[in-house]
Amino acid sequence: MKQETNQEYLLEIKDLTTAFLFDGKPVPVTVNVSYGIKKGEILGIVGESGSGKSVTVKSVLRLLPSPPSSILNGEIYFHGQNLLTLKEKEMQKIRGNKISMIFQEPMTSLNPVYTCGNQITETIMLHQHLSKEEALKKAARMLDLVGIPAPESRLKSYPHQLSGGMRQRVMIAMALSCEPELLIADEPTTALDPTIQAQIITLIKELRDSIGLSVMYITHDLAVVAEICDRVVVMYAGMVMEIAEIRDLFHAPLHPYTQGLMQAMPRINQQSEMLYNIPGMVPHATQMPTGCRFQPRCPYATEVCSQACPELVDAGDGHMVRCFHYEKLRKERVQNG
């Protein structure tokens, strides 16, 4: 069977539906998710908690425990190879080597009973078959690269002897130690304070520029997205709602949900008593509304919205949107200047 993959993409997710067991029955938490990431690109994935961002990227590395999770359909192509059909052994050669991942909680993501050196060299020795001394040298170089002072002595430190920002740097050093092509960053700065957050974001941008890394950056913080991303995927309730270049997304969002997210951002030059918020909550996976999943919270919703789920369509220049009324939004924007 000939695989139709977009050559432009380093990694392409096609129609991915991942389900979790609720009361013994598999219920899809992401539905037909499709997007791709280009080489050297920083792709933002945004959405509220529970929108399926993490589930999608964890499916890429097949890190979700099964049961309770299962992938009902879809393909994930990496260099033309469908990751979902690989044997576990082959998958292990990709994890940490070609695609690596960093997580939200630097405080708990490192194993507390092993030194940082041990944890970094472990990855290097596993994938690059270097000797212990060579691996240690490389680990020190990696720590230096991510801006950790006195890397040799830090290798002997245990995670509890480091601050949160330092630990996230160690995680990044570990993730990059085998020169992966793709880094998946699952809310890497959410648990850090703003100055450290800015440092980590700068670091990731620098690494992209210096070693041509592709980054999938998951966040719910649009300010971070504006700072770092080239393109953005907006997810809501397990579905992709909009995919756009960063400029288009901020200047001309076509989905009411994206628009809502923008309005909910605090602005320093705008005096108002209350922050805008999108009414309602993300529905639970077992209680999805009919038709468009955003329809109950949408100010533009009409009858058609509750009858059918719109397709993800190209609204021009690769700007993808899943909404019946995106033309209306575009017109309104033009009218309001």
Binding site: K93, F103, T108, Y158, H160
Partner: protein, 316 residues
């Protein structure tokens, strides 16, 4: 690390001191003394003479000090009944109990930790259910009853193993083991079941941790994730359980030695209590207490070796 170990060992002294006081007081408040053990058909004069001979008429604190200073010199006194030095009896009996408890501990740990891990890794599958049910049965079954059932099956019905008796390890290893295996299993079952359950729950908790996902995301094979990253973290509560259960193991040895007529310390304690041979009772209990304290100190030291966070807090 050496400094920490020395500190831990020194900390044993006040505990031992406390144990000696509690033990001595307990013996004091028991009605009657060794002279009662002589029976009712001896004359009052003889009892009086017996008490003077063995220093039973002296005040309590004098007797306590005598007892402790002699013990520190390695002299546990003489048995009131046989008149022989207690230390000689300890030398004969102690190895039996030590072998019994060590053997049941080893068998238990070798079975329990892998079983617990299997149970946790294969959560909610047949192996997990089987292990959990077996562990539940193991926890509830009384060791002496299990011992008797085993004798019934393996000695009387099948005739595979001798029902009782003891052969020294130095005399014949195989003869020794055929006689020790049933008592060790009977004694170790509850221990194994408890450790299995603890291992399962410790592992389930550890496998849920973020660093396990990190380890998988690094591309490590499942066996490295489990045996390197999960095991060392899960070991902390498991080792604690093993330490706490060891005390119970010595308690259980008393009963098991009686069921299988093994000449160990447990049976000796029971006999000595019945004969009111107080010096023997006190010496033996001090020794058991000493061992339990040593094991707990070892556990503390092992904790420090397993978890760098613990050894660091010990340093302060």
């Amino acid at each position: 690390m050496a400094k920490k170990i020395v500190r831990k060992v020194l900390l044993m002294l006040p505990v031992l001191f406390l144990v000696s006081i509690i033990l001595f007081t307990l013996m004091e408040v028991l009605p009657g003394d060794a002279a009662y053990g002589l029976g009712s058909d001896v004359s009052d004069e003889y009892i009086q003479q017996f008490r003077e001979e063995h220093g039973l008429d002296k005040p309590a604190y004098v007797r306590y000090l005598d007892w402790v200073t002699n013990m520190l010199k390695g002299d546990f006194g003489v048995s009131l009944i046989s008149g022989l030095p207690i230390i000689d009896r300890i030398k004969v009996r102690f190895p039996v109990t030590l072998e019994l408890t060590l053997l049941s501990m080893i068998v238990a740990v070798v079975i329990a930790i892998p079983a617990g891990i299997l149970s946790a890794v294969k959560r909610n599958t047949l192996p997990d259910y089987l292990t959990s049910v077996l562990a539940m049965v193991g926890v509830t079954i009384p060791p002496f009853w299990l011992g008797m059932l085993m004798v019934l099956l393996f000695s009387i019905t099948l005739g595979w193993l001798p029902a009782s008796g003891y052969v020294e390890l130095t005399e014949s290893v195989s003869e020794n083991l055929t006689r020790m295996i049933m008592p060790a299993l009977a004694l170790g079952t509850q221990f194994a079941a408890t450790v299995t359950r603890q291992t399962r729950s410790a592992f389930l908790e550890t496998l849920d941790q973020d660093y396990i996902v990190t380890a998988k995301a690094k591309g490590l094979p499942q066996r490295v994730v489990i045996w390197k990253h999960a095991l060392r973290n899960a070991l902390i509560p498991i080792v604690t359980t093993i330490g706490m259960q060891t005390g119970r193991l010595f308690g259980g040895a008393v009963v098991i030695e009686t069921v299988f007529t093994l000449p160990g310390i447990g049976r000796e304690i029971v006999n000595s209590i019945l004969l009111r041979d107080y010096p023997v009772v006190m010496a033996l209990i001090m020794i058991v207490a000493f061992i339990v304290i040593v094991i707990n100190t070892l556990i503390d030291i092992i904790h420090g070796l397993i978890d760098p966070r613990i050894s660091q807090s010990q340093q302060r």
